[in-house]
Subunit: 313 residues, 4 copies
């Protein structure tokens, strides 16, 4: 499986990007946050990071984008380290759901009102509420430091403009939070939680950094560049499992069949891929399909998976 | 991953069975079908089939059980060969669902009323309706022959008593069928479809046969005993993907995290496992947990997965 | 309230019909049953029946139409007489619902799976299943005789063509029945129940007969023409209550506000009105609005209610 | 209908209270707001107000209670005067619902996300958001003045302790508000709206005042004591219609059948009744049934309705 993945040159990767790029015109840039709406829908960039430290890339690789839902996997890893899996999974489930990522209806029909998994908004909010720290600042700093460590890039920061814009318009997430607070799934101040959550979503980087983070998940939590175990193997595996069962919104099942690698997408157009034991992948393509995934990014992964036999199944 | 799975002796496997067997007392044998209710809740048997043709086993391995929902994966494979994936996935989706396997509500709120995946009853009924053949008899015979071929056992038959009993009490499945017929997802006579479907669910075998079928899925559709490609590689992979995302009812997400192998369970207490490229597993343990999975069977797979590192993630 | 309702001449009523008739062009004749689809969308007829035996009418008053959902009120009255209200309301609820009349989803989320009220299809099927009699024929004959008595017209029959057509296409009602059978809300043979139910829905009459039936409900179960108590006062009142809270599908609330009289509609375009202590009304206008009510019929009742102060509220 | 309702003496009413009081032991005082939890579950008081100005009463008639959901009818009346029915019903529906009063699920499955009616919390919040005024203070003062006018009692005030307590724990209502804000059904600041809404719910009075308000609704908006038209007849009728179709939470259908008068309840244990053209009724009995209605209060109304023939149907 995938042992032979190796785009010998970036030229080879560029050809794939050119092919996938044709699909951008069928997608649409997310416009519910003004800052996201400014992106160029034709952009498509990719970086592939190998355990030996080498990296091939193609497209507008310097462009930064915010993590959005991609951050859900990383905050989950941090919280599993902070609290242990027993504590965490008492508050958020492990099951995929056929509902949209921002749905509230299932919370009402389920008893208890525990979100089905950490990749839907309700579950991700519960996860973020469990990050340890005395203040929003301390908790955010801990998450940011963790992400800088994973990316091996201390310059990673969050975009204040996007964070502020999302905070102001996050009424649906507010609704989810208050519903969860009513049912005692989350505690504490909702506005503080949303402050932390929108900052988390607004952490920005380029596809090279994202590929590096994917690589750490792929290598069971070890950073192969310095042989450090950044997170326990078990936690890296739990995260990859969620990436397969619910990482691509409610197109996760189709993605598992057509591509077959653990991946997590965000409405910014980013996708992080983690091929177990093999490579980390970072993609940025802001034109989205109707499920909220990068339309050309998915196509690009499909092409790579078929060419190099990346599917786990 | 798993390359080193090898219970040197059946003795080793027996020890795992003894440990897992303690959990049977927390489960309950399915009683909604009288024939199922007669099973001994303490039973637990397992067979592990290797590509080299060797097999280790433990427990009451001669006991036969009906496939029930395990048959959903096999009928899917046959139908994908009969019709092609484009035709099939126009009629049934690829997405996991947080709802119970027999739920009808989502069919009403979705437009079109296409079942979310082939592992829930609604989806499996649509799949069975697509098996080619001129009559119920011919269609059933084609499925049975396919299963005999996969198991490498021409004596596999169905249990008439269970089939009849299920046919007579299948009111919920009748409701699903008529709902799907109303929305033109299925065509033709509903009673004939239920006749075919309940016969399919009532095909019976022991855990050795089941392990052999799992092995063919594990080996990408090839029967390693005679090197025949029984189903195309792509189809074997699609089936394994569904086994991961929705093979264990709505405990699939938890199973993927704790065990991490493609598997499909049935309310008879059977579980078929297919570790990619490695082994096929057949389990029978009729005491079920509240989600409808063999309670000791899941425990047994968890022990094996941890011991031999079988998780794909 | 309404004591002064008295269209002195049919001429006055004709003027209202002409005004309401303009709305027929915004509606559509139900076409899911071929026999219904043949109706002339421009038709609009009305009869108003007074307790003194006089009657005014306007429009194509000789045209016959099938009762469809209007029959649900009448079968409820018969079943309340057959079984008593305690028995009946253990099997069907009394609460209005915001869901469409043919919805199945709520049955699944409620425990027990008892239909919310007798005016939605699920509830009406439960009601019809409680009509006493040894065979479908006897049970149908009892219902038909009851309807003939209410209408004071022994020639009332059912339309075989419509009954057969509805029976053959009643897949959604079959789904509801089997779901209810699974949950033991109904017993016995489903096909027999559907035979009885579709015959019930296919009983046909003109608006004069329908106005007469409405009058009996209006007069608390007494036929003012012969002073006979055809049904107990309590039962007539229960029926009128359901007509107010859920008689006009899920436009019942709006109808109660704008018109304010107990009424029951059917997809054939019929509406039966029962102004307590005052008049019975029968309307036929096959062009339906998107909720399934006669579009011009509702307008006509609105005009009459405003003119003569018919609202109960 | 009801013209002869006349408890000649308060003695007669006391006998009814004694009979109904036996049911208090089957109910429970609402405890989710500490201030409500302090009430004596055995209390039961009633006042009946006649158009001629006379009033009979029984029980602890001096005890004050907060209006809670009863206030929804009154704010609706004010908003219909402020904005007109077209404006109002573009933002809130007219249909009863089978869901609990605090449900959010239906908002998600409906498009647009318009609350089904003004008696469920989501709808009542939309209504309160439409009260005219430049500030929370001005808007609340306008509502309070209106209520003082209806009650004919300038001393009516709100209970600050209850308002504060409800404001602090109103997480479910916050969730509803933010959901509605996301869908642009409400505008403006949510905390301000909740401040206004919880004050509205905390307006307190005794059953004599409440009976007087019921009388104004019963008399089509006219205060019979001074012959003033406090609200237009149409609006009084709309309010009474909602009281019938959805005034008693999701026990409204059963109440319409068993009692048959327009009524609105609150979780404080209050019930306001308005028998059209006849009497106003105020009840206080804090022990609630599982639907949230005063358990002995409903029984008392049932007894009165049967004795004096108060049902509208």
């Amino acid at each position: 499986m995938g042992d032979d993945m190796r785009c010998e040159t970036s030229e080879e990767l560029k050809a794939f990007v050119m092919e996938a790029k044709q699909y951008t015109k069928n997608g649409k840039v997310a416009d519910y946050i003004p800052a996201l709406g400014k992106e160029n829908p034709d952009d498509l960039s990719i970086a592939v990071h190998y355990p030996d430290g080498s990296c091939v890339s193609a497209g507008e690789i310097d462009k930064k984008f915010t993590l959005q839902s991609i951050s859900k996997v990383i905050s989950l890893a941090l919280v599993l380290m902070d609290r242990g899996s027993e504590y965490v999974f008492q508050r958020v489930g492990m099951e995929p759901t056929g509902d949209p990522f921002n749905s509230i209806a299932k919370l009402e029909t389920m008893a208890p009102a525990k979100p089905l998994n950490p990749m839907i908004n309700a579950g991700a909010l519960v996860v973020t509420s469990m990050i340890k720290g005395k203040s929003v600042e301390e908790r955010f700093q801990r998450l940011l430091t963790f992400i800088q460590e994973l990316a091996g890039d201390e310059t990673v920061q969050y975009c204040e403009e996007v964070a502020r814009s999302e905070f102001e318009t996050a009424h649906l997430n507010r609704a989810l939070c208050y519903f969860l607070k009513q049912h005692r799934i989350i505690e504490g101040d909702v506005e503080e939680l949303l402050d932390l959550y929108t900052k988390q979503c607004s952490i920005e980087m380029n596809c090279l950094d994202l590929a590096k983070i994917g690589l750490v998940f792929a290598m069971d939590g070890v950073d192969p560049l310095n042989a450090r175990q950044i997170m326990p193997k078990d936690i890296a595996r739990i995260c990859k499992t969620f990436m397969v069962t619910c990482g691509m919104y409610n197109a996760s099942g189709e993605f598992a069949i057509k591509v077959g690698i653990p991946a997590k997408s965000g409405v910014s157009g980013g996708i992080m891929g983690a091929v177990p034991g093999t490579v980390g992948i970072g993609i940025f393509g802001p034109a989205l399909d109707e499920k909220g995934n990068s339309i050309a990014g998915i196509k690009l992964l499909e092409l790579l998976s078929q060419k190099y036999g990346l599917s786990m199944f």
